[in-house]
Structure formats: structure tokens, C-alpha cells
């Protein structure tokens, strides 16, 4: 029975994939939003595995039982039109599954699009702008800016304001939560939070040309106290970011990590509010950066 072997092979492959789960970073969340996503992934994978097993089981059954070689020469397969009952079952069960997953999906959507619950502190706003093939992180409240690396406090909501100086990029820190696009004519908001101190991988996930593979950044999560200390250090040691310097940064391809006082937001405002091209959604929440949302007009520089 070659088919049995084949099916066994399929099942084993799936099993290998599932046991590989342990180390996969998406399933090793370090923040509430990534945890919601990891839970959805495991849940839907489990239900889908059930469906796969049903299909495999039926296929094996049919092949074992109804192979021509197992039947007499005079066996004539009957003509069967179909049965409303059987079809109702095969439509009904998938509908129930899809309905259940839809409920889960909708709930999760509202969770990942809102500031994570249960955190008292004010959100820390960070502007994350990509340029070929770099990441510029501006901390407006702290009035500092970093290039290609990100320090964040734990146990505090983070509000990323994502946009791009050019191609579409996608801001992604898998262990803190899924990605969102950065585009040149609008600002997207991504709500994340980190629960565990540590170093995480961040990258641009949307293909944007030659330097794409190396379009990454390092993320370091630390306690609020350490974070405050880092801000202090930066203020005392880093050079100010001038318009001239920033233009120079934009021109370069890859660059290493850098730190500045001041942000580019003052002389090169992000595409939001009166500088925005447009927006097409409700990704923003009730937050003072977003009052332009009611403003339907398109402004261009």
C-alpha cells in the first residue's frame, strides 16, 4: 500500500512542523499583542489539523476499500446523485468552524488595533520612518532620535507611528507583534508593548529593493528606570540632528547605528495632519496626534 506510506509521510511532515514550533520566534511572544497573535495561530492550526486529519482519513478509507484490485470483475459502481443530508453535514461543519474562527478573528483585530489592555502608564510614542534601507526612530517626547536601533521600556504601551521616505516598507518586531506598512503619504499606528526585557529582532518585511535583506534593526527592551537613564545619557553625549545631517542620512544606502538629540520631525514633518496625503482607515485611536482623521482633504507639499 504505497498510499498508506504516502499518507504517513504527510502526517509525519506535519508533525515535524508542529514540533518545530517551540523555537519559532512568532510563537515565543514577549508582549501582549504578539501573545494574542500566537494564541490565534495555535488555535487555528489546531482546528485546521483536525480538518486535515478528517480529509486524510476519508481518503485512506476510500482508497483501501474501493480499489479496483480489491473488487470482483463484475462489480459495477452505482450511480449516486448525492444526498442532501451528507452535503448538509459537509457544508454545515465548515460553516460552524469558519463562524467560530471569524468571531475569534474579529475580537483579535480589535485587540491588536488598540492599545494593549491592563497597562497603566501613558503610551510612549515613537515615530518609525524607513528610508532606503534604514530605520529612523524619533522619540518626540524625549526629543532624541536613533538610527537602526530601538530602545524601549517594558511594561509600558508603545505607540509606533509608521511611515516611509519612499517605497512601502513594513515595520515588524515578531516577538512583540505583527507588522504594519510604512508608506510615504500617510502615517500608520501600531500598538505594541514588551513584557520581558531582552533583545529582539526587528526588520522591514516588505520588499523594497536591493538592500532589503539587510533592512533590519535591533530592539532592546529594558526597565523604565534603565530606559530613563539611557535617555539621560543620550542627551548628554549625542550630537544634535541637523536638517543638513538628516538629508545626508537619507541619501545613504545602508548605515550603522547612530544616536542624535532632537528629531527630524521638527524640520521634516511626517505625512499626517496638514502634511498628510490621505488616510484610509481607522488605524488611529483617540489620541491627540490623530485629530486630522476627520480632515478628509488632501494636502500636498
Amino acid at each position: 500500500m504505497r498510499f498508506k506510506w504516502a499518507i504517513l509521510f504527510f502526517v509525519l511532515t506535519i508533525a515535524t512542523v508542529l514540533t518545530g514550533c517551540e523555537q519559532m520566534i512568532v510563537l515565543d511572544p514577549k508582549g501582549p499583542q504578539a501573545a494574542v497573535q500566537a494564541r490565534d495561530i495555535i488555535l487555528s492550526a489546531g482546528i485546521m489539523l483536525f480538518i486535515v486529519l478528517v480529509v486524510f482519513g476519508m481518503l485512506i478509507y476510500m482508497l483501501v476499500k474501493y480499489r479496483a484490485s480489491k473488487q470482483g470483475d463484475d462489480y459495477e459502481p452505482p450511480h449516486i446523485e448525492g444526498s442532501p443530508l451528507v452535503e448538509a453535514i459537509f457544508i454545515g461543519i465548515p460553516i460552524v468552524i469558519v463562524a467560530f474562527l471569524s468571531v475569534v478573528s474579529v475580537q483579535s483585530n480589535y485587540k491588536v488595533e488598540a492599545p494593549p489592555e491592563g497597562y497603566e502608564a501613558e503610551p510612549l510614542v515613537i515615530y518609525a520612518a524607513s528610508s532606503n534601507w534604514k530605520w529612523h526612530f524619533s522619540y518626540p517626547e524625549e526629543d532624541i532620535e536613533t538610527l537602526n536601533y530601538l530602545y524601549i521600556p517594558t511594561d509600558r504601551p508603545l505607540e509606533f507611528k509608521i511611515y516611509s521616505f519612499g517605497t512601502i516598507s513594513s515595520f515588524w518586531i515578531p516577538q512583540l507583534g505583527g507588522q504594519k506598512y510604512g508608506m510615504a503619504d500617510m502615517v500608520n499606528t501600531l500598538h505594541l508593548a514588551a513584557d520581558v526585557p531582552g533583545e529582539y529582532m526587528g526588520r522591514n518585511a516588505n520588499f523594497n529593493g536591493e538592500g532589503f535583506a539587510e533592512n533590519t534593526f535591533n530592539v532592546k527592551a529594558m526597565s523604565q528606570a534603565e530606559f530613563d537613564k539611557w535617555i539621560e545619557d543620550v542627551k548628554n553625549t549625542a550630537q544634535p540632528l541637523t536638517e543638513e545631517k538628516f538629508t545626508e542620512l537619507l541619501e545613504h544606502g545602508h548605515l550603522g547605528q547612530m544616536t542624535f538629540t532632537g528629531t527630524h520631525l521638527s524640520f521634516l514633518p511626517p505625512p499626517e495632519g496638514e502634511h498628510g496625503g490621505h488616510n484610509h482607515g481607522s488605524s488611529s485611536t483617540n489620541n491627540d496626534h490623530d485629530d486630522h482623521d476627520k480632515d478628509e482633504e488632501h494636502h500636498h507639499h
Binding site: I51, V98, S170, W172, Q179, M201, G209, G277, H280, H300
Partner: protein, 649 residues
């Protein structure tokens, strides 16, 4: 000098020089061969000017197989580059060109012509027609597709390949970030080929609605014809969107308009929306005919009627409607907010329901059957489990919050290959083996066929299952390299082994064709598989007029009824048959389109204007030409039938 610099490749390499030489030698060899064997006349009369749907089908088939190998070489190059970390077989730029052309070639120039090949060959036979509704338009469709494909394929030796991904997202695909002519090739070649496809859509809708044999009501059409009808309806609704998007993209690139730019009011998201409003239905354009093939093959070799015929039809109708309501799932991450994502998440997952209905109907067609595992059946049986894996991971992707983690990763790549390969490629290989004796009058070797099916199926899993893991481990798609420390190495190595396996499987298919041409017995008769529908009631090879007498149909399995219940298919007597004349216009017009496209790509306005005029001249010539076709006399028909052993007179 400046003029010629435009044609230079921006990133030449030894591989490209080698391909140039190879292309040159092949072209010279073909020309010399045709001249030596004095085959120019034959080629022109029998193939280049043909309007016979069967020959057009075969030409589509050959093009699709050639493109499968072109796309396959790209795939091997990509997997080889990623097999080990920090590899330098390809640099970033080449890698980007390779995955872009791989995607375009596979979807537009391999899968599309493959399904259209089978549609062309099978549909008129299955509905008992003598040809398609508009035979010349059909020839024009083929030649436009062919010239589009050729235009796209010369990009890497003249001027450079597109490198912005097969999705060609702006502003990356705009002139600011993609300076070479590569993306012009993308825009224009797809435009020309797409026009051909749109015409095919119209042609086949007319054919299926108007030219069915007497007695064949819609609900008595064989399932493949049903799938073709619905596919062509989707084509007619979806392809105009692509046409418009490509036209806007072309204007942005060549006339500096600002539809998709990031300033001056352009909207990059508009491209993404338009692309996927076409792109998602496109995946159903590919999969539905495949479903049709599986329905034919499974019921033939389960020796049973198709279970749940009506629910099969309805599920396709519902899929076709839903396929236009899910496009946003390709960019849940664009910031449209929880409400919009929720709506599209629900519509996306809903598609799984009618798809599931089909899977269960095939399984129930096996029930109480008498299953015979031939090569086409083997592909169909292997399709079920692998496609199920691809399908259920699609549902996982449909969960929009979770998709924030899958999007743009290898997980997505694994999903769509595990639906497209068993879905489209297996189906086409099944269809190819199934219809081969009808097309050429001999069978492909079963043993080699089955071995290659096993190799291809297992290699598909080996190549793509590891990507689920590396995707969840953070490997983004389209990265040309990665470092050792990421831990992706092992998974990419396994994928590479799978890719080699796939290549071996496909080479074995070519060997099978060679082997069978040489050794397979001829004259396998008109119905070698003991099949069920009308196409098997014609002699093999099928005469130009298909049916000497138009058949009379009682059910979706007309031939089976004739065989089992003594129902008489061919009533009446032979009459003279009206057939269209061959025409050189489609080929000539499409060749001018090639020049038109090439001039457009390189912004050479004088040849562009001249070829535009020439295209209109062809249309005018065609409209004023008086050609009422010709008649095949009764004697001639009788003679042919006797020779082929067809209809008894």
C-alpha cells in the same frame, strides 16, 4: 552611442552572456533546421495561420511547458542562493530580478496558457461543437499571449529584467526606484498577453453558451466545461482591472503621470488595490479549471458518476462571486483598521466552505467506486491531501490579526505554493496525460508517468513544508540572503533538496514524452481510458471538423450513456460542413504588437506610431476582408471518418 546604451543590461553577468549565446544559437538552429527540412511552408500553413482550436490548444501547451522550464530554472537559482547562509551565487539585484521574473512567468506565462491550452482543446469537444465561437479571435488571443511572453522573456538580455516583484508595488516599481526598463517590460508584456486572455474569456463564454450540442442544457454540461464557463466569466470581470492598472502604471513610468507616485497626489495603495482586485480572482481563474480536470479524472477512474454534481456547480458559482470580495487580505497590514480587516477576514475564510464542498464531493466520488490508479488519477489523488494543507493554511492566513505575523514571510510562500502546485500544476499534468492520447494518438508511458508524479508530489512537500517553520521563525520572503545566526539554514537546505527533486520530476516528464514518442504503441483508439464525456466520442487524432454528425446529448456523461445504455449519440446523416479558413492576420498583427511593445518599452516613438498605424491597418483589413469560409464535402468527411475509424455511416 546613447541610443544603444538603452539596450544594455544594467547588471550583466557570465550567466546572462551565456544565455545570450544560447538564445542566439537556438534561434540560428531553428532557422537552419526549418530551411534545411523545407518546413517553412508547412509551419506557416499548418500552424502559424491555423484557426483550429485543437492546434491552438497544442501551441498553448508547448508554450506553457517551455515557460515551466524557464520559471523552473529561476526557482532553482533562488533555492540554490538560499540553500546556505551568506551565499554569493547571486547578488541582491540578480536575486530580485530572478524572483520577479519567476513569479510573472509562472503565473502569467505558464499557468495561464496551461489552463487555456486544455480549455481550447477540450471544451469544444466536450460540448459537441465544431470550433469555438470566434476562431480567428482565438488565434489572435494565442498570438498576443505568445508575443507578450516572448517580449517579457527577452528582457533579461535586452535592457534588464523587472525587479520589483511580480506584484510590482509602487512606488518601488516607479521610475524613481526602478530606473531600468525592466518594469516597462512588465507593464507592456502583461498588457499584450492580458488582452489576449480577455478575448479568450469572451470567446469561450460565447462558445459555451451558444454552441452546445442539442440536448446539452447547462445542467448537463460536463464539469470541466462548467469550470471553464465560470473561469471565463471571472476573466471578463477581472482582466479589465489589470488592463487599467497596467495602463496607469505605464503612464507613470513613461509619461510621468502621478497615479501611484508618493507625492503630487499619487496613491501607492491604489496600485496594491487594483492589482489584487485582479490578482485574487486570478488565483481562482487558475484553480477552477483545475477543479474541472480533477472532476473529470476522478469520476473516470473511480468508474462512477461525479458525486454532488449540483453542489459542485454551485460551489464554483459561489467561489467566483466571493473571489471578488477578498482582495484586501493581501494587505491587511496597510492600516485600514479593525473593521475593514474583520469584514475581509470573514469573506476570506468563507471561501473555504465551497472549496471544502468540492474536496468532500471528490472523496465521495471515490466512495463505492472501482478505483483505478492511472497517472492522471495518481495526480488527482495526490492533489487532495497536499491541496488540503495549502487550503487550511489559507484559512490561517485569513485570520487578519494573525496575518500580521504571516504576511510577507515564507509562511505565505508555503501556503500559495501548496495550493498552486497541487492545484494548478498537478491538474495540468493530469490533464496533459489524460488528453495526450486524444491529442497525439498514443499514450504516455504509465510507469514513468507514475514515478514522476510521486517524485513531484513528495518534492513539493519537501520544498515547501519547511517554509512554514522558517516563516514563523521570522524569515521574510524575498530576502536574498540571511546570516547563520538566524537559524534558517536547515530549513532552506531542505527546501533546496525539494527543489532539486521537483526539477528531476519535471525532467522525467520530458523524458517520458521522448520515450513515448519513440516506443509507445500507436492507434490506441478513440477512448483509451474508458471515459465518460463527449470528447472521447471523436476519433483520435480528432479530424479538423471534430464531429462528422453533431451529437445528441442526454446527460453530463453522454458517452457513458451511449456505451452503457445504448443511447445513440450520432443520429442523422452526414452533411457538408462549414469551416473557417486559415488566416495570417492574427499572427501578423500580434507580431506587430511585439514591435509596438518593444518600441513602447524603450520609448522609441517613431516605430511606436508606425506600428500603431499598422495594427489599425490589420484591423481594417480584417473587417473588410470577404471570407465566408469553406465547405468540407460529404465525400471528404466520409473518407476521413473511414480512415480514422470514426462514426459508422
Amino acid at each position: 552611442m546613447e541610443f544603444f546604451e538603452r539596450f544594455a543590461i544594467p547588471h550583466p553577468s557570465p550567466a546572462i552572456y551565456a544565455s545570450m549565446v544560447a538564445i542566439g544559437i537556438t534561434v540560428i538552429a531553428i532557422i537552419a533546421g526549418l530551411t534545411y527540412f523545407k518546413k517553412w511552408g508547412y509551419l506557416w500553413r499548418e500552424w502559424l495561420t491555423t484557426v483550429d482550436h485543437k492546434r491552438i490548444g497544442i501551441m498553448y501547451l508547448i508554450s506553457a511547458l517551455l515557460m515551466l522550464f524557464r520559471g523552473g530554472v529561476d526557482a532553482i537559482m533562488m533555492r540554490a542562493q538560499l540553500a546556505v547562509p551568506e551565499n554569493t551565487v547571486l547578488d541582491a539585484q540578480h536575486y530580485n530580478e530572478v524572483f520577479t521574473t519567476h513569479g510573472v512567468v509562472m503565473i502569467m506565462f505558464m499557468a495561464m496558457p496551461f489552463i487555456i491550452a486544455l480549455m481550447n482543446y477540450v471544451v469544444p469537444l466536450q460540448i459537441g461543437a465544431r470550433d469555438v465561437a470566434f476562431p480567428r479571435l482565438n488565434a489572435l488571443s494565442f498570438w498576443l499571449f505568445f508575443m507578450g511572453a516572448m517580449l517579457f522573456n527577452i528582457s533579461f538580455v535586452i535592457g534588464g529584467s523587472p525587479d520589483a516583484g511580480w506584484t510590482s508595488y509602487f512606488p518601488l516599481a516607479g521610475t524613481e526606484f526602478s530606473k531600468s526598463v525592466g518594469t516597462n517590460y512588465y507593464m507592456i508584456a502583461l498588457q499584450i498577453a492580458g488582452l489576449g486572455t480577455l478575448m479568450t474569456g469572451i470567446n469561450f463564454i460565447a462558445t459555451i453558451l451558444k454552441m452546445r450540442a442539442p440536448g446539452m442544457t447547462l445542467m448537463k454540461m460536463p464539469m470541466f466545461t462548467w469550470s471553464a464557463l465560470i473561469t471565463n466569466v471571472i476573466i471578463v470581470f477581472a482582466f479589465p482591472v489589470l488592463t487599467v492598472a497596467l495602463a496607469m502604471g505605464t503612464m507613470d513610468r513613461l509619461f510621468a503621470t502621478n497615479f501611484f507616485t508618493s507625492d503630487n497626489g499619487g496613491m501607492d495603495m491604489l496600485w496594491a488595490n487594483l492589482f489584487w482586485v485582479w490578482g485574487h480572482p486570478e488565483v481562482y481563474i487558475l484553480i477552477l479549471p483545475a477543479f474541472g480536470i480533477y472532476s473529470e479524472v476522478i469520476s473516470t477512474f473511480a468508474r462512477r458518476n461525479l458525486y454532488g454534481y449540483k453542489s459542485m456547480v454551485w460551489s464554483m458559482v459561489i467561489i467566483s462571486l466571493l473571489s471578488f470580495t477578498v482582495w484586501v487580505h493581501h494587505f491587511y497590514t496597510m492600516g485600514q483598521g479593525a473593521l475593514v480587516n474583520s469584514i475581509f477576514s470573514i469573506t476570506t475564510m468563507a471561501i473555504a466552505v465551497p472549496t471544502g464542498v468540492k474536496i468532500f464531493n471528490w472523496l465521495l466520488t471515490l466512495w463505492k467506486g472501482k478505483i483505478e490508479v492511472t497517472t492522471p488519477m495518481l495526480y488527482s489523488l495526490l492533489f487532495i491531501p497536499i491541496f488540503t494543507i495549502g487550503g487550511v493554511t489559507g484559512v490561517m492566513l485569513g485570520m487578519s490579526a494573525a496575518d500580521y505575523q504571516y504576511h510577507n514571510t515564507m509562511f505565505l510562500v508555503a501556503h500559495f505554493h501548496l495550493v498552486i502546485i497541487p492545484g494548478v500544476v498537478f491538474a495540468m499534468l493530469a490533464g496533459l496525460t489524460f488528453y495526450w492520447p486524444k491529442m497525439f494518438g498514443f499514450m504516455l508511458n504509465e510507469k514513468i508517468g507514475k514515478i514522476s508524479a510521486w517524485i513531484i508530489a513528495i518534492s513539493t512537500l519537501v520544498a515547501f513544508m519547511p517554509m512554514f517553520i522558517s516563516g514563523l521563525d521570522g524569515q521574510a520572503r524575498r530576502m536574498y540572503t540571511y546570516s547563520e545566526s538566524t537559524g534558517f539554514t536547515i530549513w532552506n537546505m531542505i527546501s533546496f533538496v525539494g527543489a532539486i527533486g521537483l526539477a528531476i520530476g519535471f525532467i522525467l516528464i520530458v523524458y517520458n514524452i521522448y520515450y513515448s514518442i519513440r516506443y509507445a504503441p500507436r492507434n490506441v483508439g478513440s477512448d483509451p481510458w474508458n471515459a465518460r464525456s463527449l470528447e472521447w466520442a471523436t476519433p483520435s487524432p480528432v479530424p479538423e471538423y471534430n464531429f462528422a454528425i453533431v451529437p445528441n446529448v442526454k446527460s453530463s456523461q453522454a458517452l457513458w450513456d451511449a456505451k452503457k445504455h445504448g443511447h445513440e449519440l450520432f443520429k442523422g446523416k452526414i452533411e457538408k460542413i462549414h469551416m473557417p479558413n486559415n488566416s495570417g492576420v492574427p499572427f501578423i498583427m500580434a507580431s506587430i504588437f511585439f514591435i509596438w511593445g518593444f518600441s513602447f518599452i524603450f520609448a522609441m516613438w517613431i516605430p511606436l506610431i508606425l506600428s500603431t498605424i499598422a495594427i489599425f491597418a490589420c484591423m481594417a483589413y480584417q473587417s473588410f476582408e470577404k471570407d465566408d469560409g469553406r465547405y468540407i464535402s460529404v465525400e471528404e468527411v466520409k473518407e476521413t471518418e473511414e480512415k480514422l475509424g470514426g462514426t459508422k455511416i
